[in-house]
Symmetry: C2
Subunit: 346 residues, 2 copies
């Protein structure tokens, strides 16, 4: 079956998705019966391209790889590259699935939330890697999707393509999830790993993370725990049935942890990790982000470097832990694809 895809946002994640669609075309068709026709791409920096007959993915990747905009797409008509706002693109395109991949604004969740609602109101499934709408408006958007007989899927918002929501809804379906506990931020885990295994101070470890591209120039969102906070709110509301806001969750990062703290923990056989933790108990869901000293026997203690992991406490299966990449161009592009494939299967 062929699906018509519209991409809103075509930065790292969008290009990661396009690369996979280009490279795995035959495999996806032959093994899963899945074919994709990309009918629209729009990006505030790169312009707009709407071609209902299908966009040449390799040509787009070539353009963007050379730093060009979508307006330079070969033989494009003026109408095909008319500069349009995301909302207009969603309105006009005949895509049946919108992949929303714009930047996260965790305070307003805009313009992503408006894009998503517009897509659902015009009959399109939505898949997104954007934490904003999922953290701030999950229930409302999910209700809108259901009312319209559509899917709203968010695999990429927590551990990139390492499957969390797929795991809960397929392999673990039938379980009640009571608690989740995870390492959801690769940057801070990388820093803590370097401090412990190489005896680095916090400052140099952060500088190394920045040099290697794990941390941004302004590392606040990572090191103060705000990225993990948004993710634990999403997990609380989607997996535990909570209705938490980001302001409901106490949050402490790792910027005050010293080499001495880490060494003292190590001497006790413990290891510092930035832990996002949420629990459903007595009808209430609570969550917290904080550095924790874990015994080495905890499945999360062995998660080193920029990896992510999540333990789910379930009623039938006990504790199930999944570990994998938590970021990356291909990994987050795959997260989007995995949600598109879930729409395809239904």
């Amino acid at each position: 079956m062929e699906h018509r895809l519209g991409l809103i946002g075509c930065g790292t994640v969008g290009q990661g998705l396009l690369e996979i669609l280009r490279d795995k075309k035959d495999l996806l068709r032959d093994t899963l019966g899945f074919e994709a026709r990309v009918v629209a791409i729009t990006d505030t920096l790169k312009g707009t391209l709407i071609i209902p007959e299908g966009i040449d993915i390799a040509a787009v990747l070539d353009l963007l790889g050379r730093g060009k905009g979508l307006a330079e797409y070969p033989k494009a008509t003026a109408a095909q590259v008319e500069p349009l706002d995301g909302l207009d693109v969603i309105e006009r395109t005949d895509a049946d699935i919108i992949a929303e991949m714009t930047y996260t604004d965790i305070k307003t969740a805009e313009p992503a939330t408006s894009y998503i609602k517009k897509a659902l109101r015009t009959g399109k499934h939505v898949v997104t890697s954007n934490k904003g709408p999922a953290a701030l408006h999950y229930r409302e958007i999910q209700d809108l999707a259901r009312k319209n007989g559509l899917q709203f899927r968010i695999e990429g918002t927590v551990m990139s393509g390492t499957p969390v929501f797929h795991l809960a809804e397929s392999g673990l379906a039938g379980n009640r999830i009571r608690e989740v506990k995870g390492i959801l931020n690769g940057t801070t885990n990388f820093i803590l790993t370097k401090m412990e295994t190489e005896g680095m101070d916090y400052g140099p470890a952060l500088a190394l993370a920045q040099k290697l591209g794990y941390a941004e120039a302004d590392p606040t969102a990572d090191v103060e725990g705000f990225d993990a906070l948004a993710k634990v709110v999403i997990l609380s509301n989607v997996l535990l049935g909570g209705s938490l806001k980001t302001t409901d969750v106490p949050c402490k990062g790792i910027s005050s942890i010293t080499k001495a703290d880490i060494e003292a923990a190590k001497a006790q056989g413990l290891r510092f990790k930035l832990i996002a933790h949420a629990k459903a108990e007595g009808g209430a869901v609570t969550a917290i982000v904080s550095p924790q000293k874990l015994p080495l026997s905890d499945p999360l203690a062995g998660v080193m470097g920029a990896q992510n992991a999540l333990s789910l406490e379930t009623d039938l299966m006990g504790k199930i832990t999944i570990q994998g990449a938590g970021a990356g161009k291909t990994e987050t592009g795959f997260a989007i694809l995995s949600d598109i494939l879930a729409v395809h299967r239904c």
Copy 2:
């Protein structure tokens, strides 16, 4: 939607499944739209019960819990409890899903394979926790299922209900899996853990595993690696596209590992684990079961006690590791349910 289930084998796994169906009836109906009517149960030790209108699950569990046979089912007619062979039960029942849960015979895979083929030939989906048919005849049975438009599902054959096949076919769909490496036998992992963390010798650690019910009176299948061998053959053939036989796979267990070996490894910062490993390379799939000394940074090194874990090497997501229970009444009963729910979703 209501499914009609037939249970072939009603020992620990079957009773685990029935308990979940009894306890989660409302939850499964309300959240997943799933309802089950058990229409047939047969077990070589406990007798046969065929009631197309539906069997009272609580009454059956009560009988079996009191050591009674199915013939004593309240108000059963002679026809409903007529002693029948599994093949006859499968022939006669109008179940749309057969749960095959008889004991594993890894040499012949019988009578399970005959039961499964009979079910597929009479229009019934099959779910099983039996390693025999999956290890010896996976491809042949899967072809038969496809030819008849039916499903043959085997989640419970490798890590009980810890999802391996669900993970590969939903969350990781689109990836090519190149290699799998796992701790697939909880008994040996329990023994190695006790030897390392409590300084026990092999003999006393094995005796403790037997006392706690992890190891059988004859522990050969576990400690010599044969259980892990059957599982790695299944993984090779299902996930890597191989066509291995059990005799193709070199297999060494843990019975010759001494406390001194473990201490020497520990001094090098390494940890002994019984590793099942399979790889697809240059068109060929190979596998091996052997004790390996892992660096502590390996996600499998931190898997302690009777837990199982599997790392999948994928082309898009890199290494994904899942850890959880690898055995147990509820856990394996849930594995069967998870496959039934997969049939329900499609």
